[in-house]
């Protein structure tokens, strides 16, 4: 239908990519927001400040909506992996079943305590008891991201298996979890989820402040979320740098393709931007001398593998360069916003909550962070091509041969559009109809403790 001829592999890739790209939005919120809620509730109890407790309550209320979409799209991707990639799942079942299985325990744990947390706000005498009900939610959601990313790390750099002639012969179930891609991948995914959620929640407060609703509640929320975001941003960048070094050692073809590095060489320059001509000439790009060698191995003189050392049929698509450059420009914009915030907080505190440009920047940073996640993932996944399991199974071997994948692609696209639009509508209505200052008045907590 969309393509000239029916190709189940192509359609399976498109449908998998679509479902994951949609799921990751809600998954990221599912991982990061519980941490922020916990932070707010903890500060609220510690300082005996009702404003922070209300923050936790309001964030949790919005969170339920996103969780629901996260859960149903997660169920979709879980089933789709078997439906669209039956041969791949057969091999994955033999080799990397433990983290997949553990992930479901993490979901269980999270789901149980989320139910408890949401319905026990005023049930326990000791406020800390309610706070403790949230900790399993934080652990459970981060653990599910941990485990699924372990699976993805295995796909990028299989470990714990012995491969003879492209077939797995010997398996160490726990060894498979210790892929060399695991440390950087897992930590990068977790920290960036926290970062993105801090920015999203900051944007909500910034929006209210920009509208001239300058209740102290919003100021407290903005300060909490933006300081967290700044810390997470710094950590993401450090781990991102380590991810590059991981690539240089274990997936040099991905690094070479993303940097358009054609010849293996020392003192390799980094290309920013630019376009690629028909015969692989780089035009209009900015070359930064030594930078690629530093990025890859930390030394200006280090040798970086180029595409000439990679078999032609194992080279990832070269357009991932654009994805990575886009990602890095989003990161740069987020850094500017965070720096501006920190600078004002340090030098001219009065302006932090009223400077319109800063507030607009913070509002912009939230979608930028989500876009960074999307671009980062698509870059990482497309950069693994042509492999579905690096060095073991090609994507074309993993896919289903069923008919009707094209119809499913259209049907699921419609489903996600409807779900996405309804979720946005429900969430905006929720926050518009129930403003924090009204709720503060209604609950009679105007003072909000000290400060």
């Amino acid at each position: 239908m969309l393509l000239a001829s029916y190709d189940p592999v192509m359609y399976s890739r498109m449908l998998t990519g679509l479902t994951l790209a949609f799921h990751i939005i809600f998954a990221t919120i599912g991982v990061g927001v519980p941490l922020m809620i916990a932070l707010a509730e903890w500060i609220g109890i510690r300082r005996n400040d009702e404003h922070y407790l209300l923050m936790a309550r309001r964030w949790a209320r919005g969170f339920v909506i996103t969780v629901a979409v996260g859960v149903v799209t997660g169920t979709a991707i879980g089933l789709q992996l078997s439906l669209l990639w039956p041969s791949f799942m057969k091999v994955a079942g033999q080799s990397i079943a433990i983290p997949l299985f553990l992930e479901t325990f993490a979901f269980f744990f999270e789901a149980i305590f989320l139910g408890i947390y949401l319905y026990t706000w005023d049930r326990f005498k000791n406020k800390m008891t309610h706070f403790w009900m949230l900790i399993p939610v934080v652990i459970g959601s981060s653990a599910s991201a941990f485990f699924i990313t372990v699976v993805n790390a295995f796909m990028n750099a299989p470990a714990g298996v012995t491969v003879v002639d492209g077939k797995i012969t010997d398996i160490s179930p726990f060894g498979a979890m210790l892929s060399p891609a695991m440390p950087t991948k897992v930590s990068h995914v977790l920290i960036t989820a926290y970062l993105t959620c801090a920015f999203i929640l900051a944007a909500i407060s910034a929006w209210s402040l920009l509208k001239g609703r300058n209740h102290v509640y919003y100021k407290k929320a903005l300060k909490l979320t933006m300081i967290s975001a700044s810390v997470f941003l710094l950590s993401s960048a450090i781990i991102g740098d380590l991810s590059g070094k991981y690539l240089a050692n274990y997936q040099p073809e991905k690094l070479a393709a993303m940097e358009w590095h054609f010849e293996t060489s020392k003192q390799a320059p980094l290309v920013l931007g630019g376009i690629l001509t028909e015969d692989n000439e780089i035009k209009y790009g900015i070359k930064i001398p030594y930078a690629l060698s530093i990025l890859a191995h930390g030394l200006p003189n280090a040798e970086v593998t180029g595409l000439n050392d990679i078999p032609a049929d194992e080279t990832p698509p070269l357009w991932i360069h654009y994805l990575f450059d886009l990602k890095m420009s989003f990161v740069a914009m987020m850094v500017v916003v965070a720096l501006a915030f920190l600078l004002l907080l340090w030098r001219k505190r009065s302006l932090v909550y009223s400077n319109k440009w800063l507030l607009r920047g913070i509002i912009l940073a939230a979608p930028l962070a989500m876009l960074t996640i999307e671009h980062g993932w698509i870059f990482a996944e497309v950069g693994r091509q042509p492999w579905i399991l690096h060095g073991i199974m090609r994507t074309t071997e993993g896919a289903t041969v069923s008919d009707h994948v094209d119809t499913m692609l259209i049907v699921f696209a419609l489903l996600y559009i409807v779900l996405g639009l309804t979720a946005i509508r429900v969430l905006t209505r929720m926050f518009r109809n129930n403003r924090a200052e009204d709720e503060i008045a209604a609950r009679g907590i105007e003072g909000g403790g000290k400060q």
Binding site: P86, K90, G93, Q94, I112, G115
Partner: protein, 341 residues
């Protein structure tokens, strides 16, 4: 017990768990819609909502656990079922997605209970069991063709024209309503909500007869469709007899308005005996006649690892589930709505 049998037992237990909690949920959705159009909503809705709100996500995880675990223990099932089930599987996913999200939208969003949301919620609750039950139907064999290249094709028309497949759908629908109504009797009674109790008691009694009738139909249809399976089920005839006795006890208690907690336990036993009798007769086949639990079972280290992880997981899960039940099922004040949310 061999690892294969341990593996399939664990998975079957979780599928049973899903069958029960999901039936309660799906049936409640339908009753909620049905009571709206018959003007009895105000009577039973509080009870349904108070139970469902904290547990709906947990219900879904039972299903996820089942299909993820299956791929771990029996990797080949991913290949056969994955290829065959693209369409019915996708339909189930879409229904689950609509149901889960619209439940949350209408329950937590500020526009409460639009009639349209309720309709989606009620209707999907009946369609999901119908579409999921086709997986069990397919496992009986005869709906999949495998050619010499191990290429799997799913024979739609065969499935749609088979009596057996329709009796299973019927049984799934009816038992969902029966299980759910029986549970709501117990819950409404705990809530001391006379009005609600009388309504759901009627539902429960009304659906009890059809449940037994459609089970009998499935028996006959299985005999026609897969005689081998029917014979192995006859070896476990005592389980089905016990199941029937449990049914009688359960329905008597509800009818007499006595010991409703015990009555629901008998419902669990009724379905437990039948479900495990059916399952035991099904062994060793996972997909008749292509796949048994001994074909390409996962490697021994993986089996040991999965089972150990499972035991550790249970140690975490059981206390948490217990806490959830204590707070929302066995806490009379909560059930009676004396605690605010």
């Amino acid at each position: 017990m061999s690892y294969e049998v341990i593996g399939i037992t664990v998975l079957w237990v979780f599928l049973f768990g899903y069958l029960i909690v999901a039936s309660i949920d799906f049936g409640a959705g339908f009753f909620s819609y049905y009571s709206t159009i018959t003007g009895k909503r105000h009577l039973i809705n509080n009870v349904i909502e108070r139970y469902l709100s904290p547990v709906w996500e947990v219900t879904n995880v039972f299903l996820v656990f089942f299909f993820v675990g299956f791929v771990g223990f029996f990797p080949d099932t991913a290949y056969y079922y994955g290829t065959a089930l693209l369409l019915p599987g996708s339909v189930a996913i879409i229904l689950l997605a609509i149901r889960g999200s619209y439940y949350a939208f209408s329950n937590y969003g500020s526009k409460k209970d639009s009639r349209f949301y309720l309709f989606l919620y009620g209707a999907s609750g009946l369609l999901i069991p119908a579409s999921l039950s086709t997986v069990l139907t397919i496992s009986e064999g005869g709906y999949i063709a495998v050619d010499d290249n191990n290429q799997v094709t799913f024979l739609f028309s065969r499935l749609f024209t088979s009596t057996y497949s329709w009796t299973v759908v019927l049984l799934a629908l009816v038992s969902v309503l029966y299980i759910s109504a029986m549970f709501l009797c117990y819950y409404a009674n705990r809530a001391n909500d006379r009005g609600a109790f009388e309504v759901v008691r009627k539902y429960a009694i009304a659906w009890s007869g059809p449940t037994i009738l459609s089970s009998l139909l499935v028996f006959f249809a299985i005999r026609g469709h897969n005689a081998g399976h029917f014979q192995r089920m006859e070896d476990y005839a005592w389980m089905f007899v016990l199941s029937f006795i449990c049914f009688l006890v359960a329905i008597y208690l509800v009818w007499a308005r006595k010991r409703l907690g015990l009555s629901f336990i008998f419902v669990l036993l009724q379905f437990g005996f039948a479900f495990f009798g059916y399952g035991a007769g099904h062994l060793p086949y996972i997909l008749y006649p292509y796949l048994t639990i001994y074909d390409n079972f996962t490697s021994e280290p993986m089996a040991i690892a999965l089972i150990s992880v499972f035991v550790l997981g249970l140690l975490l899960l059981i206390p948490s589930l217990y806490l959830l039940m204590r707070l929302f099922l066995f806490d009379a004040n909560y059930v009676q709505g004396k605690r605010n949310k």
